[in-house]
Structures are given as structure tokens and as C-alpha cells.
Symmetry: D2
Subunit: 385 residues, 4 copies
């Protein structure tokens, strides 16, 4: 897509979000369940379709705009400007990452059965990987859920939690141990032996379907629903990992930018001690720090996207961009709260909710500590070789 | 009170909080309204009375333990270990500060009518000072609510917001402009012309009665309900200000310490990558930083308390302690969330709620920026004279 | 230049710096005067010419490689790996920026007389703008040095300080007030009325010619030595400003990267408490933070360079990149000192000297505070329009 | 000593330092060797004696004022206001710590031979413990220097480095391995087999005698020069450790306070953009942050001193105070540099030299990382027991 085409999509998304999504988001303080859940989703997605901004990342063959990582970055950022924007455009987590993964390794049958309805917004999905301690959390090698070979397929047993979007999802990608290795499986939500449990009630409330516990009890998966190769589960998940980290950054960047703009507008319209708040040095410092954090996040994000578009795994670049962004974007939202004073802590302004939504990103998709550990090991290896 | 007497109170409060208050707090995720509001308060206060830990700060003549600032610091810290602890001990904001103020400047009649039932927990109160823009927020001199002289008293007109505890309060201390100066007034909640409006729905949910809007429309206050001298409202509020800042620090210090201890216990009981989390260097760094922040907060707090107990205004000391504490205690709670990983963001552990509750303290009682501004001006004055 | 040509220059510079420049730099702890000053410069420049890496930024017509901003970034970074590298390649401040400025606005005569010998390394130069208080420091509009119209030219009077490279410079570009505006002038160092005074003895010692005071006393400048248009001095300086900020970043990025690599190598080769230092979590955190800071600096730098190469003024982009870099690069060097322990504070390792050299960059080229002030004003303007 | 007596000493020290020590310190930019080394020391100590401020920490029986830790804190802080102040008062490291140690465990003969001339300023001393890798650095258990039993005494062999004050010291306390344990020994500097080697040339230049390498080659120590019990070397060093950490904090606190006061005075006397620098919000933020860091350092210091004076080891308290102080005091000095702009990086103002002197304190006396590691382990132990 050339630059002016991208600009055009960006501009249409911006208008759509401000006119049709923000009002809903603000009315419900970013709580998608309170706003109507899937019913609201279908409504917003219909509006997005009407505005010509639905599924910009989806391959054109499946009805999307086929934008690559570099092109979708500013589009996703505009979508993220509202907490409900990603759902409206069908670019929310984990669906967006699941579409990417399915598009790369699903069989023709799996594409038709799972990817097509996902890309069109007919269905929602989950990615069932994380497990309660001592299973697979930050350390995927601790994977405890098992898939045992049976006639014509596999029996899955185990527990998962923090499965984003699980409540109401139509199907799941499930990571399970097959001997020494891991394998990914596909299963519709109504498959026997698969149960979605309680919501984890995390700080964030804008993810449709919440973050839930799941239980697998002798859940049968036929061979045709093995996703990718048996034993190659982690390698398959890698396909999803780097881009999914970056689309997270894109969306949260939009949210943080909104917090910043709301705060700047606030301090530009208030006075204290005879001076406009926006002209006080300590406010200017917060404003400038936000500008710098936004620019640095965007620059690191684009760097990683260029490598991904060039076919690289971008493991280092996405790790750096994700770690920096998770911390910088929360700083931005936190400064926005501070700039707005008392009102910043309330529902009257959208800054506290954005700070609350972004906070878990320092933990989701690999805590900052795990990324730093991995970055350090790589640096020592490269510098001392 | 000698050290062993203080230690004894501390120890009884600790036991009481852990056995009788924490379970309620955790069941309702720190939401006092959800937990039953004033009904729950009366229940908890009865239990505190039975445990001999009720109202440690109240003068002995009014049924309290008469502890000074230095002695009450560790007691309030233990109470703050639960978000509902301060309500249980009747040392919550704004009641505790209002008792202090009334004890210093109320007339005999006012003491009987307002202080006595407040100290006993029969009544609750509000301190109606903060106003929506462009009124008195960070800058008290912008006070917009007026009190006009009429026969036998005053008519108050104006709007307030962020009035903590207003919903359900039995009476209010009201700051209003009388000519060029400000004056404080007392009024029962059912006084005509006084209306408690909507809750501001701030990040914190543990303050009984919330933070509300209030309207005064020709609200009549008889002369006997002028609190302190006419025109000396700000001087009177100063009596309340320093100690109230410090008791806030004491209570939040307890909450932050709980977050820290929960997080340390969490990482001491988990493994990843073959190592106990508590033995990983990055975890140790967070643990040590928490220990340092706790110790520094406590040291600055005690410094200020000593000056207050010696009769000083401690304007600089309380400003430094409040500013440092508001930032340090939130850092502690935020690190606790990070240390607990995904679970740290949920209701399963009490760390996210504590982070959420402490966040507004960087704004309440004077935003950090206003304190820094005042500290800087003082420093320039003192160093260059 | 295509990517493989750039890579080739980068690679040659890397080898040249490590083999021929670092040993000198380390022998003299980065003190260029102690290392022999201009004599040493000529020696190093001859070596650079022999290695085919001299003056990569100089237009090909003047004997350079003609690299644009994007291409020169990695080259300058490699040169900056040694504190003496920039001098060796003739890309040091202020000469490099002065070449850029002269190349854009010098007359044919000025090019021949000033630019040609500067580009070839025959001469050195100074940029005489900064003045002692209350003159032009952070605030250029306070310019106090005057140029008065006389027959056939101008008489300059005033005082300057922090004039980098002044001691031993062959000529100067001088900013002086002409009425309400400012004008730039050229003058050889031996011009009557122009005196280079004492060195300011700043923290850094690697800048050839130091940072000096200068006095102008009825210093006559003929009309032919007016640089650019009369009254357009600040506009002219802008041409130099953005790119000069970025080349500073490139060079210091190289120095900071060296500090990082030295520190990583150090901790990879030591043990304490039975563990390799490089495997301790707190060390890994510092290593990872350095990697992140390096990547973010580079990403912001490249962003600004792309805008400059496209002909933009990049005022916001260079301001952000400079401010972030000045702080990030010092953090990197400071962490490197910490990682190296006691030895890190000594001359045995090159980390303390790099920290010392980079520190002033938070002040030179506009203190961080002035950049933040300007970024904030721009943000308020753009967001609220 | 009562408060007014302490105040009196503080006041006399303040006057003495400003009138007689600061001028020398500033003339030589804090370089004690350049200022004349031991000759200068004797001159300054004579002046201190004349001013009645010599050796305030020394027991009265040895001619000092016998101040305890709490009382000496403000005195040492005033002395530290000049980098040469501690030498003038004979309270510099390592002498002051060595006096403390000798006063606690030296035999009568050792007191006469070593402590008396040390306390009077006749002699200087060193504490030879730290060793080059892989010996005893941060990890004392790696002690590599050995003491072998021979007839009538011990033979010491090994290498030390970073031995503060070694060049010109009259005697040394030496830590050496005796079997599985460590033992401390005393030796005059001219003992055969004891060699003081090169200076390590660290960032700081105000420590008389520098930081040197030392070699022990069959250096004989008679039994009477064993300090404390054989095999109890580390326990003995602990006596010195806690207080020595705190007196370091006291002295550096004085230096940091000077940097702060110089910077405040600077910004109070300058204008830019039409405003006094001291009235700009970003300057006020730095001023306030310095005030907070000074207050917090002092509060943590006093807390630890109280425990030490009460006879506690104060291991946790001194570790917290040292770690916080080393970081806070450098932040203060660094902000002071920034506040002074270009001049702050030069010898014209004393801020850059103070920043340079304080930097190594984050490493000396246990790097921050080691203190944090130890604090974290203690916290986990105490919280989970």
C-alpha cells in the first residue's frame, strides 16, 4: 500500500473512532461487558464495515485490506485511541494474532472452518497457553497440559488461566505437551471436555470475553485439528508472538496518546495561581516527557515492524519495543492522570481507565523481567563471542 | 505513653486487623460500599472496641487512648494494613483530621454537639473545602463559595467537589469566603440548602461515603456554628493540615507494606526456570527497593511527627514526607503487582487494589507538583537570604 | 550510497578505530591535549586518509564520501567508539557542523578560503555564539555581542564563552547582533581584536581546542566575510543546528556503546559468590536497560535523520532525539561504571572517562530543560488547535 | 553531649570550613595531592585544632570530643561541606573508621602504638582488605591473601588494591586468611615485605593517599600485632563496617548539600527568557527533589545512628541508609550540575567535582547491588518465617 493510501485509511479510522466508538467506550468507562459484550461488538463491527475500516490487517482474499506491519501500525494506533476501537475493527487480541497464525499454518480445511469466520467477525477465538503455577507462565517449558495419543486423535487434559477472550469465544487454539515437545490444537468451544471457568477479574475491562480459567478433561481433538506439525507447537507460536507483541504496542500506543491529548487539553484550559496550568514548568516537563515517550515507542515499534515485514523473526527488536512500550505507555497514562489532578482519578475523564488498562501490559506477553533476562543473555553472547 | 505500652497497642491492632478486618476487605476487594457501608462500619467498630483498639488518637477524656503523633504512627500503620482498618478504628479520613481540628478550636457547645459523637463513632463527618475549577483546588486562594452575613448568622452559597465521606456524613466543616478572608462553619447534613450530589467515582473505593459533589444554596449557619474565628479559616485549616497529611501517610504505609509482604510471600513460593522467584536478581532488586522505600517513608514520617509533637507547624517536614510517601508508596504497590505477575493484576491477590487506592494520594492533600513548588520557593528563600 | 557501500565504510571505520585510534585514546584517558593536540590530530587524520575513511560526510567535490544523514549515522557511531575517532575522521564538533553550514550558505570565495581547508583537515574552526550571562546562553535572543556598521564592513565587540575548539582554531564563525537581528561573520583567528582566552576546564577533555572564552574588541570584519545574509544569523544557524545535534548523538552513541561493551565483557569474565557476574539478575537488568537505551536512541536518531534527508527542518524530531539521547547515553555509561565495580571508576577501564565526556551533552546544544520547554509548547499548540 | 553543645560544635565547624578550608579545596578543585598532600593536611589540622573542632569523634581520653553517632552526624556533615574538611578535622576515611575499630578491640600496646598517633593526626593509616579479582571484592569470602603461622608470628602474602590512603600511610590494618577464617593484623608501612604500589586513579581525588595497589611478600607480623582474635577478622571488621558506612554518608551529605546550595544560589541570580531561573518550574522541581533527597538521606542516617548508639549492629539500617544515600547524593550533585548549566560542568563552580567525588560511593563500601541482594534475602527470610 502506498503512503497516501495508508494515510487515507488512518484518516478514516480516526474519524470513525472519534465519532462512533469513543462515545460508547466513555459511557461505560471502558468496560466492554457492561457495554453489551458481543452484541455491542457486532454493532460496532457493522459500523466499522460501513465506514470501510473493518479488518485492515486481514488478507484481501479474506475481505481485509492486507496491510503489512509497517502500514498497519498507524491504523491500529488510531483504533487503539478508543479502548473499544480494536474490537470494532476486528483487530483485538487474541483474535488478531490468531488470524495471523492461522493464515500462516492452517490447512485448507482449518482455514475454512476457523479462519474465515474469524476474519469476518462472525466468530471469536482464544489462545489457550498460559497455565497456573507450576505450569507454563513466563516459562513455557513448564507446560503441564498434556495431549495423549488416542485412536484418530488426542485427548487433552489440564488447566489454563488468563485465557483472554475465552468467555464467549467460538473456538480455541490450545497448546499441550505431546511427549517432550508441545503441539497446538484447534477446538470449537462446545467440544466435550472443554470448560471455560471463572473470570480472573484483572485490572483491565476492555478485553471482550475477559481473562478466564479453562479446564480440559479428556477433551478429544481429531487429527485434522492439529494446528501445524505435531511437536512443533512452540515454533508455531513464535510465528504469532513477534507480530502479536507489536500489534499490542500499536493499540496501547493509541490509548496512551489519547490520555496524553486529554491531559494536554485539560491543562490548557485551566488556571491556578494566576497561570494557565499548561504554562507551568512541571506540567511542561510531563507534557514533554510524554511526547518523548510516544516518539520513542513509535520509533522502536516501526523498527521492529520493518524487520518483520522483511521476513525476520525480529526477536530482539520486538522484545525491546515491547518492554520499552509497556513501561513508557504506562508512564504516559500515569502522567496524564497527574496532569488532570483530582478529575484525572475519576470516570469524568478517560485517563485513569487508560492507566488501569495499560498496566497489565508490563506483565502480559512476557513480563518486563523475562524480556530483560533474554535481552541480557543475548547481549552477553553477542558481545563476548 | 511509654514504648512498651505503644508496642502493646500495635500488637493488638495487628491481631485485630488480620483476624477481623482483612477477611472482609479482601472479600469485597476493598470496596466499602459493596461491603455494606455504614452498617459494616458499625460492625467493625464494635469489634474494634471489643478488642480495645478503638480510637487510639482520641483524647482520653473522650474515650480514646490519647496517643501523640509519634506513638500513633505505628498503630495507624497497622490499621492501614487493611483498607478497612482505619474505618474500624475510627481513624479514617476525614473524620480523624476533623476530630483533631475540633479538639483544638471547637467551642464547648460544638465539642458536645459535633466532636463527642464523632469520636465515639456515632457520627461521620466531611470537610467541605475543595471546589470545581475555577474555585479552590490546589490554590486555596481561589475559594469561590461565599458566606454572606445575615441576621444571626451566615448564608452559604457555592459548589464543592471531592468531598470525602460526604455521602452519609452527619455533619460538615465548610470553608467559605467571608470578604477577603475565609471562615470555617459547621453544619449538620440535614440542614436546608445543603445538598450532597453525585459520587466522583475516583480510583479508590475504600473511603466510606466516597468523594462527592456538594451544593450550598442559601444554606443558613447560625453564629454559634462558626468554627474558630471569622476570617481565620485558612489558619484554622492549617491546624488540621500537617497532622492529617501525616496520618494519611501512616495509613497508606500500612497498605503498601501489605502489598509488599504479599508479593514477597508470593515470590518465595513460586519457581520459574528452575529457580525460586525470590532468588532471582530482578525480584531481589524490587524487594530491596521496597524495603528502602518503606524505611525512607517511615523515617521521614517520624521526623515530621517529632516536630509536630514538639509543637512545630512542620510545614516543610510534612510537605517532604507527604510528597516522598505518595510516590514511594505507589512505587511499592506497583512493584508488588509486578512481582506477583498475572495474578498481581487480579482480585485473587490484594496488590492491584492497593496500588489503585494509593494512586490518588499523589494528588489528594496537595499534588506533588504543588508541594515541590512550595518546597523550592522555601529553599531558595532560605539558601539565598 | 547503497546499503552494502555503507556497510563497507562502517566496517572499515570500525577496524581503523579499534586498531589505530583506541590505543591512543586509552593511553591518554581521552585527554586530547595530553595526547599531543593538533600534532596528534594530523597524525590520526593521515592514518584515516590512508585507511580510506577520512571525512565521510564531506561532499565528494571536496574530497569526501558525500554521505547523507541516514548513511553517516552508523559511520559516525563507529568513529565515536573512540573519543578521538571523530577528530581522526575530521567529523568532530564544531568543525563538522561548520562544514555543513558553509557548504549550504558560503559564497564561492568563502568556500575556497574557509570550507576547503576545513574539509581537508588543514584547518580547524570555532562557532562563536554562546555568551556569559546575561548574554546568549540557552536563550539566543539575549545576544549581547554587537556588530556595528562601519565603512566596508563591521566592528564586533563582546564576549563569548564555551567556544568549543577555540584554542588553535584557524577561523571562527561569529554570531553578533546587528540591530534587532543577528548576523553571522567569518574571521581568521589572527584577526586583530579577536582574542581567545582561558579554557573553561569542563568535564570533557576530548574536544580538541577545549571550550574557551573569547573577547572581541573592535574586531573588523569586511563585508565579504558576512556569512549568509545580514540579519539572518539565527535562520542560518538553524541550518547547522538540527544536523549538528544529530551528529553529536551519533558520536556519543558510539562512545556509550563502547562503555556498554566493555562492561558486558567485564561482567562476563568475573565471578562473585560463585556465579559469573553476567548471570546475576541485577547485572542482567543493567545490560538489558543499556540495550534498550541504545536501541531507542538509534531509532529516534534515524527517524530524525530520515526527516532531515527529506529536506525537513526536523525541529521536533531532533529535539526529541537529542534530549532522549543525552539522558539515555549517560545512563548507559553510568551503568557501565557500576557494572565494572571499583575498576569502573578508574583509568584502567574506559568507562568512567566516557561517562564524564557524555555528561555535558545534557547541557550543550540546549539543556534538556529548554528542549522540553519547547516540546511542551509545541505539543500544547498542536493538540489544542 | 546535650543539644546546645552539639549545635555549638556544628556552628564552629561550619565557620571553620567556610573560612579556612573551602578556599583551599576550591583552588585545587578538590585534588588533595595537588593541594600539597600531607603537608597541607598538617596545616589544615593545625587550623582545626586552633578552631577547637579537631577530632570530634575521638574519645575524650584521647583528646577528642567523644561525640556519639547521633551527635557527630551534623558535625561530620558540616565538615563534608568541603572535600578537604574531613582531612582537616581528622575524620576522613579510612582513618576515622580505623580509630573506631582500634578503640574497640586494640590491646593496650596497640592503642599506644597505633591509635594514639592516629587520633592526634600524627599518623595516617590504611585498611587493607579489598583484593583484585578473583580475591575479596564484593564477596569477602573470596579472600586470597594468606597469613601463615611461623615462629612468633605470621607471614603475609598476597595482593590488595583500592587501599584508600595507602600512599603515605604510617600503618595498615590487614585482612588475611588464616586457614578457613580471616584475621586482622597491624603493620607499620615500612615493614619489610609490604609494598604500596601504583595509584588506581579513580574518579575521586580528595582522598589523601589515594586508592593504591599493595603487595605483601612474606611480610612478617609478630603475634602482638594481631588485631582482635585470630580467626575473628570478619567479626572484627563488622565493628568498623556499620559506623564507617554512616560516617561516609555524613561527609558526602555535606558535599551534596554544598552542591545543592551553590546551584540554588546560581539559579537565584540568573535570568533567561525574562524569568529568574529559580522561578522556572523545571528548576523548582530539581530544587525540591534535592530537598527531599537531602531530608530522606538525613532521616535514614539518623535512624541508623540511633540504633548504633543503642548498641545494635544496625546491619539492615546502615545498609538501607548507605544504599539510599549513595544514589540520592549523586542525584543531588548531578541535578546541581544541570541547574548550573554550562558553568556547572567546569571548575568555576564546585558542583562537577562534587558529582565526580560522590559517584564511586555507589560502589565503595559495598556496591548498591550487593546491599540490595542482602536486603532482599533478609526481607524474604523475615516475611516468610
Amino acid at each position: 500500500m502506498n503512503k497516501s493510501e495508508v494515510d487515507d485509511v488512518v484518516s478514516r479510522v480516526r474519524t470513525f473512532i472519534r465519532e462512533q466508538v469513543i462515545p460508547v467506550d466513555d459511557e461505560y468507562d471502558g468496560d466492554i461487558a457492561a457495554a453489551g459484550g458481543d452484541e455491542r461488538r457486532r454493532e460496532l463491527q457493522a459500523a466499522a464495515r460501513a465506514a470501510g475500516v473493518f479488518a485492515p490487517h486481514v488478507p484481501t482474499g479474506l475481505g481485509g485490506l492486507g496491510m503489512n506491519m509497517v502500514d498497519r501500525a498507524p491504523v491500529f494506533e488510531e483504533a487503539g485511541y478508543s479502548l473499544f476501537g480494536p474490537v470494532a475493527l476486528n483487530i483485538n487480541a487474541p483474535d488478531e494474532g490468531n488470524m495471523h497464525l492461522l493464515d500462516h499454518i492452517a490447512t485448507a480445511g482449518q482455514r475454512e472452518r476457523y479462519l474465515t469466520p474469524l476474519a469476518s467477525g462472525e466468530q471469536r477465538s482464544g489462545f489457550a497457553m498460559t497455565e497456573p503455577s507450576p505450569g507454563a507462565g513466563s516459562d513455557p517449558s513448564a507446560l503441564a497440559t498434556t495431549a495423549t495419543r488416542v485412536d484418530g486423535g488426542w485427548l487433552i487434559n489440564g488447566e489454563k488461566y488468563f485465557i483472554t477472550g475465552a468467555d464467549g469465544a467460538d473456538f480455541f487454539i490450545i497448546m499441550a505437551r505431546t511427549g517432550e515437545q508441545a503441539t497446538m490444537f484447534l477446538a470449537p468451544a462446545d467440544r466435550e471436555g472443554l470448560t471455560v471457568g471463572r473470570h480472573m477479574r484483572s485490572l483491565d475491562t476492555s478485553m471482550l470475553g475477559g481473562h478466564c480459567e479453562m479446564t480440559f478433561t479428556d477433551c478429544f481433538i481429531p487429527d485434522e485439528d492439529v494446528l501445524g506439525e505435531v511437536g512443533k507447537g512452540f515454533a508455531g507460536a513464535q510465528i504469532r508472538l513477534g507480530p502479536a507483541r507489536m500489534t499490542h504496542v500499536m493499540r496501547w500506543l493509541g490509548a496512551a496518546r489519547r490520555a496524553h491529548e486529554v491531559a494536554v487539553t485539560h491543562v490548557a484550559g485551566r488556571e491556578a495561581f494566576g497561570t494557565r496550568l499548561a504554562d507551568l514548568g512541571m506540567m511542561q516537563q510531563m507534557i514533554a516527557d510524554n511526547e518523548i515517550d510516544i516518539a520513542a515507542t513509535r520509533a522502536l515499534l516501526m523498527e521492529a515492524c520493518r524487520v518483520l515485514d522483511d521476513g525476520g523473526r525480529a526477536s530482539k527488536e520486538t522484545s525491546i519495543a515491547k518492554t520499552f512500550a509497556a513501561e513508557a505507555l504506562h508512564r504516559i497514562a500515569d502522567r496524564a492522570v497527574q496532569m488532570c489532578g483530582g478529575l484525572g482519578t475519576t470516570h469524568d475523564l478517560p485517563v485513569a481507565k487508560i492507566a488501569r488498562e495499560i498496566r497489565p501490559f508490563r506483565i502480559y506477553d512476557g513480563p518486563s523481567e523475562v524480556h530483560r533476562w533474554s535481552l541480557a543473555k543475548r547481549a552477553v553472547r553477542e558481545i563476548t563471542r
